[in-house]
Symmetry: D3
Subunit: 312 residues, 6 copies
Amino acid sequence: MLNLKIFAGSSNIDLAENICAHLNIKLSKLNINTFSNGNISVEILENVREKDVFFIQSFSEPVNRNIVELFVAMDALRSASAKRITAVIPYFSYSRSDKKDAPRISIAGRLMADLIKEAGANRVLTMDLHSDSVHGFFSMPVDHLTAIPIIGEHVRKNMDLSSAVAVATDAGGAKRVGRFVNFLNIPMAIIDKRRINDVKVEQGLVVGEVKGLDAIIFDDEISTGGTLLATAKTLRDAGVRKMIAAVTHPVLCGAALHNIKRSEIAQVIVTNTVSIHEENRIKRLKVLSVAPLFAEAVKRINSGESIGALFR
Amino acid sequence: MLNLKIFAGSSNIDLAENICAHLNIKLSKLNINTFSNGNISVEILENVREKDVFFIQSFSEPVNRNIVELFVAMDALRSASAKRITAVIPYFSYSRSDKKDAPRISIAGRLMADLIKEAGANRVLTMDLHSDSVHGFFSMPVDHLTAIPIIGEHVRKNMDLSSAVAVATDAGGAKRVGRFVNFLNIPMAIIDKRRINDVKVEQGLVVGEVKGLDAIIFDDEISTGGTLLATAKTLRDAGVRKMIAAVTHPVLCGAALHNIKRSEIAQVIVTNTVSIHEENRIKRLKVLSVAPLFAEAVKRINSGESIGALFR
Amino acid sequence: MLNLKIFAGSSNIDLAENICAHLNIKLSKLNINTFSNGNISVEILENVREKDVFFIQSFSEPVNRNIVELFVAMDALRSASAKRITAVIPYFSYSRSDKKDAPRISIAGRLMADLIKEAGANRVLTMDLHSDSVHGFFSMPVDHLTAIPIIGEHVRKNMDLSSAVAVATDAGGAKRVGRFVNFLNIPMAIIDKRRINDVKVEQGLVVGEVKGLDAIIFDDEISTGGTLLATAKTLRDAGVRKMIAAVTHPVLCGAALHNIKRSEIAQVIVTNTVSIHEENRIKRLKVLSVAPLFAEAVKRINSGESIGALFR
Amino acid sequence: MLNLKIFAGSSNIDLAENICAHLNIKLSKLNINTFSNGNISVEILENVREKDVFFIQSFSEPVNRNIVELFVAMDALRSASAKRITAVIPYFSYSRSDKKDAPRISIAGRLMADLIKEAGANRVLTMDLHSDSVHGFFSMPVDHLTAIPIIGEHVRKNMDLSSAVAVATDAGGAKRVGRFVNFLNIPMAIIDKRRINDVKVEQGLVVGEVKGLDAIIFDDEISTGGTLLATAKTLRDAGVRKMIAAVTHPVLCGAALHNIKRSEIAQVIVTNTVSIHEENRIKRLKVLSVAPLFAEAVKRINSGESIGALFR
Amino acid sequence: MLNLKIFAGSSNIDLAENICAHLNIKLSKLNINTFSNGNISVEILENVREKDVFFIQSFSEPVNRNIVELFVAMDALRSASAKRITAVIPYFSYSRSDKKDAPRISIAGRLMADLIKEAGANRVLTMDLHSDSVHGFFSMPVDHLTAIPIIGEHVRKNMDLSSAVAVATDAGGAKRVGRFVNFLNIPMAIIDKRRINDVKVEQGLVVGEVKGLDAIIFDDEISTGGTLLATAKTLRDAGVRKMIAAVTHPVLCGAALHNIKRSEIAQVIVTNTVSIHEENRIKRLKVLSVAPLFAEAVKRINSGESIGALFR
Amino acid sequence: MLNLKIFAGSSNIDLAENICAHLNIKLSKLNINTFSNGNISVEILENVREKDVFFIQSFSEPVNRNIVELFVAMDALRSASAKRITAVIPYFSYSRSDKKDAPRISIAGRLMADLIKEAGANRVLTMDLHSDSVHGFFSMPVDHLTAIPIIGEHVRKNMDLSSAVAVATDAGGAKRVGRFVNFLNIPMAIIDKRRINDVKVEQGLVVGEVKGLDAIIFDDEISTGGTLLATAKTLRDAGVRKMIAAVTHPVLCGAALHNIKRSEIAQVIVTNTVSIHEENRIKRLKVLSVAPLFAEAVKRINSGESIGALFR
């Protein structure tokens, strides 16, 4: 691996070290300081001149601090004459802000893509953006990995799929679930969210057959678990037999754990794109590692091999 | 309307004149020449210094010639010192190229957004982009209109909705249909496209209840009508009672007319974002005008009124 | 005031309302939400098309969240077609990061200036940057106000200046103090910080006459108060009679209050560029308002009057 | 040839294969599709990461489609992480649009130069631009080849130059002919086009001696052949003995063939920068290949050798 | 004239005051200082916020100092919040550097166009660029005036044109002379410069009829007068009767005066785009004022009237 | 040294050759011409494709001509396909223009940084900028060397430091002197410049102990020597014993030599960042060479070694 150096921000050092372990290299050293006035300073402790640098940072909580940390780090790397800087963003939270569904808001996913470039990134490596179009928000090369094969393989090995159905939590998720069911060759259903009347209560209608089937609720991220809980209830009322959930990004904040525990969801399969607090590592949560996939992608980017091959 | 000037490219002069009529102004004059070597030249025939200029061009066939015509026109307007140039693109064909679903392709929707800006546009006014995220491809203000209220109102007045269901032609269309059924307060279904086996044949599964119902196939554009025809067959097999289709952009090329005629679709509702050839104006095609909506949007952009209000 | 609209971020709403009060207008409305995954969303609740918009945000704690909030707000304003967006940043914390005093760090003051522009600002209005050169980090017009006249006038009215001396806390502050003593026509001194030996202990040498004089320690910001405390000790050892401190930005974090209380500094004069927590509003802290100055600057920027005149 | 890959658009595959043959490499593979709505899609079928890519596309008819095809291809190559992309444009039609000879038109040569860059090109390799200054329209390195030595050598070998004169078809062509006559060491003449009176009829005056001489009409491109025909008539009236024509770019559209045939021009010497339809390959047309020159230029650009040497 | 302010650099204050006189306004005030280390400082002495500013500077000697002065002035104006800055460059010397006629040189005309924009200009107003294509070097609106009508009218009134011929000093000037003879309706000729042999001596051949005619040598600029002198000799040898010269820009450096005096050129007609030193104001030099034309252009740019009309 | 090529502008060829000598390579060849109209042309005489090029130019008199020469040279190098262009600017005169100390002036240091980039530089290598923050004016990597160790070592070897004090010529220089005294471990003092009253006379007050000590007046540049002379007088009045001066950049213009000679400053230590005219090479001027340091920096930039190490 020619001139390769990997650095990590504060958000997910475990994953970074895991990726390095798969590549048989050491995570490079830096100091991240916070001054008393709150300013972040990043000091790169190794020479990076003419090096091919990867900086790993997930947009997990504290999201905005982690983003600014990434900006400052990339600027430090650029002014230290790194040859190429790849922002590795396993979880890009702002990909959820991908459209203008109210007047006078920011499509912040695009904004962040622009700021990441302005701060110094030459390319981006990321996973399971909220929608595929977010790829097009970046004006630099993006390698967009997916956890579908990792999650799919796990499900295939651990579950009887003969009476399984994958369920999208809303119409916007249908496309994502479409790819998942193509991988597993099982049927799909979606939850059609509606307001009952003007008093704003939302009701979930199940579109598609789920009665008597084993449902796999499939989504890109789980934060408070509220959506999952609501979906589980709707599915229960519609007569599903068993339920598990599979989501890529375990944001797991607020009442997430509580919601999972009180739900009828037997298991929640996630990946390690977001670092999971010790207290959240409950038995019902199954964590699959994306480190091998990221390591392989880093290796191929560095050596100029095709990454498309990773998806076949 | 202060300093307002509206010009039109070759693609849809009818719509342009219609918009002008609603605004009670004349379409401004220009000459579009094609030199013998194929070069396009656009000569603006009215003074546009310090004017608020709107240039109307749909990306209909010949798509790429119309796009280059737009580029040349905008550059001519810019170098002629127009104060502000709004590219009015009722039909933005490349919004369909909004993701990277194969290795080493262009997300051409983003590319076109960048080229439109480079050529001189200061803002864009468009309608029913293939996905909402395409809005975020533009690095300038975009006003994104929708024909859903126009089509929805028409459907409401002309159809008994008590046993209606709106159908998306694939999982990617679920979101779009989601907004449509919210407007009409009717249930939805989607076609889940699958390959039966390795021999690549596609099969459409209906997700959701359609049996005995009247289906409204809802999509953003109709080109050859192939998708529509396939969807109609799948729905017929699934036992729908009656079928109509509603799409915003009537691209209508190749065997479109033939396909519509031999289908069991009673009516195809479209708008005039794309100019419809005389020979395509058959009885089964119902064309609704978007000119009043575009005229209102132009007026508000020009005068600085809120456009968000148009959507409520 | 033509088409003027003022919005405020979360950091210093008091100051924003104060500025509006001086201008006799209402603070405009917006919603700032934090989604469960930590993403910020800013929804502008008033039409801003063709308006001259000022957005007020201090880079106080949580600094990095406030910065991202500013970015998102400016992008929302830009895409909502504001005519001009002025980022009003009473306290620009990253101006302290104005040089490369270690290898491989970011000059984050410049980085933030670039990101603020990329996010949508057309101009900046700020106060007492750490060094004058930070002005040059911005590639857009900046109006750089100073609190020296406000603080100077207050000192002149409340203190016998016949035996006063102004003191810079280090060599880098000499220039700033130079302007302050020119305003008050009093002598100056500086603290020359040195390491005694390799064991890294810092020692402050007083350069200039301070014995028997009343010292005004003058600085741009106070965070933990550590520098102030150390300076006070050094001055005490050097035989000053009385001491007060005057700083523009009251960051006041960590042990600040405690440090002030246990010091021999009779009074700390600050301004309201940073919002001061209720518990920090102790008697020894004198807060001067910069709202009239900012209001006047906003008025002149809006109407195209000279701001240079404000400094004479 | 290190990491070299050559791709070709639809416009001139013959030339591309010819260039590859001279370099002893294979033309790389891609798929160019046109969707039913007219959108172009380019799929690069070989890994191009860290490769030095050349994309060959002439701006021949359909000019604007070919240009958009080039844009989409370059964007695909860029997002596929090509190391460097050279747009090889043997015939750059828009170089004729190099000045503002009417109010409110676009200098489209400059516009295209900007769009080519925006679409992803890092450098350009082209031949015989309409005027030398068009080189300066590009904001990236351009290698500007000329066919003068190729055409000149051919003329020298096949024609008695003792009584030859080279003729520019208008005053704007004098500079170009100046270089040609310097190469062959023969005298020159120009056609001075004038309107006889207000009724717009153009008359060509011959400036310089042509009586009894053998004329070589020299131009950069031939499209309908109208200019050539008019020039031939003027020269005939002025008493020339024999006439041939030499032009770099054989656009050959409309009545070109007919015009050539009915003219007294004994031979039209062209190059293969533009692909010539089978039916246009008449005996009076002599096609010289520029492939060896382009191949040599590609080789030198790839290896970092001087290209200036090619012109001596 | 709304919010109009005109400033002038050091190069041609006479012309600037003349333009102002025609507009009935005062030239605005600034200080241009040169520090002892050679740095230029420009201090704008009037408020320019929201003003429409024109800065007049010819690229006459000291050319490069004047250019840097223009850069510094425009940056000062921009940071002082001028609404729009028009660089008025009556003589743009670097337009002569418009092609790459040797390997590894700069097309400095394009470079200067880019730097002028980077320094803050929003538009350019200039006259008689060396070639029309230089217009396309600028990526902002340019109004390109010509002195041909001014010079042409003067010639028409003061000379018997019945036996006149206009002569280009080389093939590159043929296009320019072509426009001049169209205006006056007289014949043209060109000097075809050649090397006699390898020993590099240049010989001028006359292309076209000049014998017994009165020649008007027409060029864009006269610097040392060397080209003029050589042309005069060639024309004399070819048997012309009388000679005058007409050039737009009187650079007049080195032996210019001497060369004019010892030539057989009866009169040299120039304009005042370049300031003429007192000692150069000899009788044989006729200076025509372009101030009225520039004044009219400024007025129209400011008020948004068409400038194209100026050329008819 | 891989693919390294060093070129020099007109300003300081001695230093350039010196640097080359330390690197054991030849200074590469170019032609710098000035046309009769004052235009500069730079012709690179060696192939630079894919080369790592360094261009050495100090901003010494004629400053603005040298700057434009640098612009033209960099553009020539860029268009000649140099791989990387480092502008080596030993003396960057405009770093003195680093703040806005009067209304409506340019922070020309920032402007020049932007223009240098626009003209083609990829990175900058410079020395002792007027203030550290000027580093942040550049939007590309900068290696900012300092002569403090070179000057400091010389002073340490040639002077008894037991009773030495370093003196800043004004408050703004305190920071610079602070680093110098840290290097030598001696005390510091500063001159506090004041106006006595409204009649604008400046008076220098000494802040800090100097009586009976040997003063080293330390500054970044000496132009006319006026500041030095004034400082020497103030120090004399304050009772210093002996005086020397140490400045990095010997601009030495106007009465510089005369001022030095008539002062009581025993020696003026400078470096060769600026070329010193033969007549200025007086005995009292001690010139230290920075060539070894620049050579080492060039070597490390070229090979990708850390430069930070140079400062320890």
